[in-house]
Amino acid sequence: MSTASSEISDSGTHAAASSPNEFLTFTLGDEEYGVDILKVQEIRGYDTVTRIPDAPDFIKGVINLRGTIVPVVDMRLKFKLGRAEYNEFTVMIILNVAHRVVGMVVDGVSDVLQLTPEQIRPAPEFGSGVNSKFITGIGALDNRMLILVDIEKLMTSADMALMDSSSQSLQ
């Protein structure tokens, strides 16, 4: 069911080409969320994270991912969902978004699902933990309700504080 600790996708550059209908689902608090599988690079356990000074509390710090420095965001802290515990079951999803590698801590990873267009309903305007502008729809499968998130848009948004707009112009 779950594809733990494996590298799934690629550079993600051509991810936007086809309409995504394969989702990796994970849990945050009581809700289930889904993200485009093509943005997911791999899944890891939660490792030692080096704190970064002057960072918001939901940015736990950085880790060493085979030689690259990758920042880690705890989604539970950011969206105040559930309790942020760190134990042997804690999972980190490594994403590849906007040419950057970013890790996000979640409560657990469920599975990879294919959703047909009929199974995806438009997102209602209710307030959920995640700001509705990042929600692309609601997936309904069996009895599950999956909140489908545009993870790239979310991660690159200003309030995630992951990217510095002025430093980008220097690259």
Binding site: R51, V62, G67, D164
Partner: protein, 689 residues
């Protein structure tokens, strides 16, 4: 058989651009007084090379234009034409046009014909004092009418062999023109005893039948005309036989239609052999090649070097990891292992130095563009400026060089535009009418220091304060000069009265500062009203690897650049003093240094420790010393600098990250930033601002 020579185009273009740069540099150095044959010959050769290559590879526009340049240079080098500012100027402008032509050729487009034509006309008029067609390719005389064939008498002179020519080859070639009957004339052959085997005693009478033109026949003998007696007569008695003279049958140049004299009047050009042997001067112009040792040089794609640097970086990490693993073992028991690791450490260090040095280039790479720019800009703005450079051979990492080019350009432009006054103003102020700009580079400690200085009017403190207040920046009359100068780095700041198209839009200085800080460097300004201004840029020697001291703070490890560390100590209680509203200082010998508790500074958890119960490391940056309070000294190691910004963003006070031997990430402290933040706190002390 078609051979595709386009594969050599890239090399041709690279060479040609280098050649152009060399020409330009040499032209800028050239003055009527210093115009000796050697200097001009170097410029000539560069143009000649470009022309040859362009013609061979089919870039006609480039070849034709360069030919004009070459002709002018040829007259100058032979002394036929004096070198005056007129020539230097038109040559400089021609270099620009030629560059455009090369670009066009490279991109497969057509250059602006109007611009090219104008300069071509100008060159021509300088050459001839009138317009003319480019040096006429000599029109060959009309071929004699073909006849039924030719009777040829070929009588080589005795020394024909000495030029490497072989009559047999010539006869064979004749035979390819048509059916031949050859008869060898041995009349001049001496006895065997008198025979000199290196001399030619034979002659040949040849009948060549067919309708090939006379030219074709003469062509066969082109190389040996002056080494033989040749008679070519038509076979059929058409007209009185016309013996061809043994002297030059090179066609007489037909005068161009214009009344001006031919571009290549036959003359003997006495080229001084010493001019050609002035190798040192000429090879110096080829700046892109490092001083040639015995082995010469090869071009390498930068990606290959980058990949080498990465691999060495990984090697350093692996070696650190091994060191770490071994540290838990008994050195006596594992003596050989430790010896091996020690050797590995030495080897890795050497390898790393060697690889890093491949990327080091003299800063002259960047400096070289300025003489031209200063000259043009000064002329455009009606100012007189002299550029003095020093330390051009100081070596910096290639990537650093590329990234300081723009900031330096901006600083130089600014200085000429706003700093240096117009000649009248300067004279009125008792200064030399010609302003001086100084560009210098040097190694200082673990850094490169690049300075841009001018002797202009300096910064106007009052104006800056007023402008800053206008923009809502926090200012006070009591600010020191240094603090005031820092204000000009604010975005959008410009006190220029007018916006020229060169500078004044205020988009410059803040970008300069950002670019330099992105390189982990720092910018400082010194200025004296009426005397001038100096901008000092400090850059790390290399972007990739650092000698670091690892320290523990809370449960994190931080790396302090070893080059910034002065000493470490555990202070006694009486050395530590609190100063109300200022902070804590620690007395070391006779100095009182500000004390920064890194735990506090980096907002890390854990109880605050008293300084005398911790370790204090004295660090120095930008001439200032600061004391950092840490929990423990861990060790010293080489670290590979990994960028935080690749996947995250820039963090104030942190210059990068590294991966320790145990796989953990450690942050590298930006000592310069700490020192600066302490001196000019944005809001409050510490980075959590």
């Amino acid at each position: 058989m078609a051979i595709d020579i386009t594969r050599f185009h890239q090399t041709f273009f690279e060479e040609s651009y280098e050649g152009l740069d060399a020409m330009e540099a040499a032209l800028l150095r050239l003055t009527p007084a210093s115009a000796d044959a050697e200097a001009i010959n170097g410029i000539f050769r560069a143009a000649h090379s470009i022309k040859g290559g362009a013609a061979t590879f089919g870039f006609k526009a480039v070849a034709d234009f360069t030919h004009l340049l070459e002709t002018l240079l040829d007259e100058m080098r032979s002394g036929e034409r004096e070198t005056t500012p007129v020539e230097i100027d038109v040559l400089l402008r021609s270099v620009d046009v030629l560059r455009n032509l090369l670009n066009a050729a490279r991109d497969g487009q057509n250059a602006d014909a109007a611009v090219v034509g104008r300069l071509a006309d100008e060159l021509a008029s300088v050459l001839h004092g009138g317009s003319t067609s480019p040096a006429a390719a000599s029109a060959p005389p009309a071929s004699a009418p073909a006849s039924e064939g030719w009777r040829i008498r070929f009588e080589p002179k005795a020394q024909l062999f000495a030029s490497g020519n072989d009559p047999v080859r010539i006869l064979r070639e004749l035979a390819s023109l048509g059916p031949t009957t050859v008869r060898c004339d041995t009349a001049a052959l001496p006895d065997l005893t008198d025979l000199n085997p290196e001399a030619c005693y034979l002659a040949w009478d040849i009948e060549l039948r067919g309708s090939c033109p006379r030219d074709a026949v003469m062509e066969v003998f082109a190389w040996v005309e002056d080494e033989c007696h040749l008679m070519v007569a038509p076979l059929a008695p058409v007209a009185p036989a016309q013996p061809a003279a043994a002297t030059a049958t090179a066609p007489v140049p037909t005068p161009p239609p214009a009344p001006a004299p031919a571009a290549e009047p036959p003359k003997v050009v006495p080229l001084a052999a010493p001019a050609r042997e002035a190798a040192a001067g000429d090879t110096r112009e080829r700046r892109s090649e490092p001083p040639r040792g015995e082995g010469g040089s090869i071009r390498i794609a930068t990606e290959k070097i980058d990949s080498l640097v990465n691999l060495v970086g990984e090697l350093v990490i692996t070696q650190a990891m091994l060191q770490q693993l071994a540290s838990g073992l008994d050195p006596v028991q594992h003596e050989k292992l430790f010896a091996g690791l020690s050797q590995l450490d030495r080897n890795t260090r050497s390898l790393q130095e060697a690889v890093m040095s491949t990327r080091m280039l003299p800063v002259d790479f960047v400096f070289s563009r300025f003489p031209r720019m200063v000259r043009d800009l000064a002329a455009k703005l009606g100012k007189q400026v002299r550029l003095v450079t020093s330390g051009e051979q100081t070596e910096i990492d290639k990537s650093v060089i590329e990234r300081i080019a723009d900031p330096l350009t901006h600083l130089v432009r600014n200085a000429i535009d706003h700093g240096i006054e117009k000649p009248e103003q300067r004279v009125a102020a008792g200064k030399d009418a010609t302003g001086t700009m100084r560009l210098s580079a040097s190694h200082q400690g673990g850094h490169i220091v690049v300075e841009v200085a001018d002797d202009g009017r300096g910064l106007d403190r009052g104006r800056i304060l007023a402008k800053a207040a206008e923009r809502g920046l926090p200012v006070a009359e009591s600010m020191s000069d240094a603090e005031v100068w820092q204000l000009i780095f604010a975005p959008g700041f410009s006190t220029a009265a007018e916006v020229t198209d060169v500078s004044g839009r205020g988009v410059g200085m803040d970008v300069v500062k950002k670019n330099i800080e992105a390189l982990n460097g720092a910018v400082d300004i010194a200025s004296e009203a009426g005397k001038g201004m100096r901008v000092t840029i400090r850059l790390p020697l290399t972007l990739a690897i650092l000698d670091g001291m690892s320290v523990a703070v809370a449960d994190e490890i931080f790396i302090l650049p070893l080059s910034s560390v002065v000493e470490s100590l555990q202070p006694r209680p009486e050395q530590v003093k609190r100063i109300a509203q200022e902070g804590t200082v620690v007395r070391v010998r006779n100095e009182y240094l500000p004390l920064i508790d890194l735990r506090e500074w980096f907002v890390l958890p854990g109880p605050k420790m008293a300084a005398h119960q911790s370790i204090v490391v004295i660090v120095e940056a930008e001439g200032k010393k600061v004391a950092l309070q840490i929990d423990d000294l861990v060790g010293q190691q080489q670290v590979v600098i990994k960028s935080l910004e690749t996947n995250y963003r820039r963090v104030r006070g942190i210059s990068g990250a590294t991966i320790l031997g145990d796989g953990r990430v450690a942050l590298i402290v930006d000592i310069g930033a700490v020192v600066r933040l302490l001196a000019h706190p944005a809001n409050g002390v510490g980075i959590a601002a």
